[in-house]
């Protein structure tokens, strides 16, 4: 078994409001693996992802990306570490007035820190790489179009291309299909699985649709009340087990406040 690219080791997270979002959550995702985190609202799945991405710091515990402790880094070192992990959000978050290719090239800014890029110039030498990433998501013919002209599903694929342009070793996705129609949803899910399988990336995706997790994931990680309850391949998990994730969440949320 190869070394895990995404690792979380007994993460605890208490927000300033006093809400305890994570209570010792641990997980590991290997290269080439597409892992999906399932859980009810308030189970801590988004918190988990944001800690692994280095956006927020946990109260306790360690998260590692490709062996680097992202939870301990700040400033420039954190920006460097973030380059190794791509992130996709619920919304595509493209700069709508720029071209699709320009948006994708923005993903490479981290490795081109100079005077010109600070003033808004895109790194020209990355254009072939950007086009390659667009081809990967099937959008190469849209490269010169404004991002605002893309449909929701196309925009999300362009956002994935931007994350790939970073040349990351791991990809995180926070409910990437929550605002997409069924067809676009399946395209994006297939793409994420493809990225894991063909690029050897570790992909960790938060979802709230168990059926999608069953259909696409290599491994399902069940999160309930801030603790990982199970982590196994879809065949090994019963519907009842998934159902337990969504039990008495209302009562828990009340207690947590």
């Amino acid at each position: 078994m190869s070394e895990a690219l995404i690792e979380a080791d007994s993460l605890f997270m208490r927000y300033p409001t006093g809400r305890l979002a994570l209570e010792g959550a641990s997980l590991a995702v290997r290269p080439g693996e597409f892992a999906v985190v399932l859980g009810a609202n308030g189970s801590g799945k988004s918190t988990l992802l944001r800690i692994v991405a280095g956006i927020i710091k946990p109260t306790e515990g360690i998260a590692r990306i490709a062996g680097q402790e992202i939870t301990r880094l700040t400033g420039r070192a954190l920006a460097d570490a973030r380059m190794t992990v791509g992130m996709v959000f619920q919304h595509a978050n493209l700069v709508k007035r720029r071209s699709v290719l320009a948006n994708v090239l923005c993903g490479t800014l981290g490795r081109h820190r100079n005077f010109a890029t600070a003033l808004g110039v895109l790194p020209r030498q990355e254009i072939p790489h950007g086009m390659h990433c667009l081809a990967n998501v099937g959008l190469q013919e849209f490269a010169a179009q404004r991002a605002s002209t893309l449909s929701g599903g196309q925009a999300q694929r362009a956002a994935i291309a931007r994350a790939l342009a970073q040349r990351p070793r791991a990809l995180l996705a926070d409910e990437p299909v929550a605002s997409l129609d069924p067809e676009a949803t399946n395209q994006v899910m297939r793409l994420l699985r493809h990225v894991a399988a063909n690029e050897g990336m570790a992909v960790l995706c938060v979802l709230h649709q168990p059926d999608l997790a069953r259909r696409y994931a290599d491994r399902i990680i069940g999160l309930r009340r801030g603790v990982v309850r199970f982590a196994a391949s879809p065949e090994e998990i019963t519907d009842q087990e998934i159902g337990t994730l969504y039990e008495d969440t209302a009562r828990y949320e009340e207690a947590g406040r």
Binding site: A53, G54, I55, A79, D80, A81, R82, M83, V85, G86, M87, F89, H91, A92, N93, L94, V95, K96, R97, R98, C106, G107, L109, G110, R111, R113, T117, A118, L119, G120, L122, A159, R162, A163, Q166
Partner: protein, 276 residues
């Protein structure tokens, strides 16, 4: 009975937030009171401004006299007055450009989502408020005292006032901006300055240009007036012609101002349409 009254008062205070229905059932005495109050306010304003309609009638002959004396406009003055008109437009252009150049960085400090520090936010807000709350005519008076007569104090006055007007509008545009792309670029490992130039600037640039063009239009109007306090341009010519009773020059200048204002308005609107 006392408890009944307090019951009623309580019921009314509970119903107060949805007062739309209450207003229809309000007693006519209140409506009458509001009408009387409104009339009192209007009448006192008439008294304070010494409004005497009969003055308009007796003044009519004087008005007609001035109109007659300012007709026809003295078109021989057109070429000599073209330079001051040009000066007026350039005061506005200079003021707008300097205003934008100073207002944009200030607006970034004065927007809650982009400001690097709390004290910079408050400092920038305060500076913008001062620039805005002092009218440009007053700024012009101050600058005329400081640097002397001529177009330069006018241009400075317009610059400072524009910083105030543009700063606030731009800060609002930045605060209303979609933060998604900024967060997304942050997770790619881009530096602060890169995020700013690649995500913030392209997002707010159309609004920035639109607001600036609108400001240019407003500033051309302002710079017409600024001449009255000695800050150069066509306004100064108008004041001199009035003082010398050269009413035919005055009417020519008024026509030139009209053309300038309408032209600036049309041009600014047309350019803004192209950006949108």
């Amino acid at each position: 009975m006392n408890s009944e009254v307090s019951e009623l008062v309580r019921a009314e205070s509970i119903a107060a937030p949805h007062s739309r229905r209450l207003r229809e059932t309000r007693s006519p005495a209140w409506t009458l009171l509001y009408i009387v109050l409104f009339l009192v306010i209007v009448i006192q304003s008439g008294v304070v401004v010494n409004a005497r309609p009969q003055d308009l009638l007796t003044g009519a002959s004087g008005m007609a006299d001035i109109l007659a004396r300012s007709f026809p406009p003295d078109f021989s003055q057109f070429w000599p007055q073209l330079w001051p008109a040009f000066e007026t437009v350039d005061i506005a252009i200079f003021g707008t450009v300097v205003g934008v150049v100073i207002a944009f960085p200030l607006a970034i400090l004065a927007a809650r989502n982009t400001t690097p520090a709390r004290f910079l936010y408050h400092g920038a807000r305060a500076l913008i408020a001062v620039c805005r709350s002092v009218p440009d005519l007053v700024w012009a008076l101050l600058f005329v005292t400081a640097v002397g007569l001529g177009p330069f104090p006018g241009a400075l006055a317009i610059s400072v006032h524009s910083v105030g007007m543009l700063g606030r509008l731009l800060a609002e545009v930045i605060e209303d901006m979609d933060m998604g792309p900024i967060e997304a670029l942050g997770t790619t490992g881009a530096r602060r300055m890169q995020i700013f130039s690649h995500a913030v600037v392209p997002t707010v640039l159309p609004s920035l240009l639109g607001i600036s063009l609108y400001r240019l239009d407003e500033n051309i109007r302002s710079s017409l007036i600024l001449g009255f306090v000695g800050a150069g341009g066509i306004g100064f010519q108008l004041l001199s012609a009035m003082n010398l009773f050269q009413y035919r020059t005055v009417s020519l200048l008024l026509i030139m101002m009209f053309v300038l204002v309408i032209g600036a308005e049309r041009l600014s609107a047309a350019l803004r349409k192209r950006i949108a």
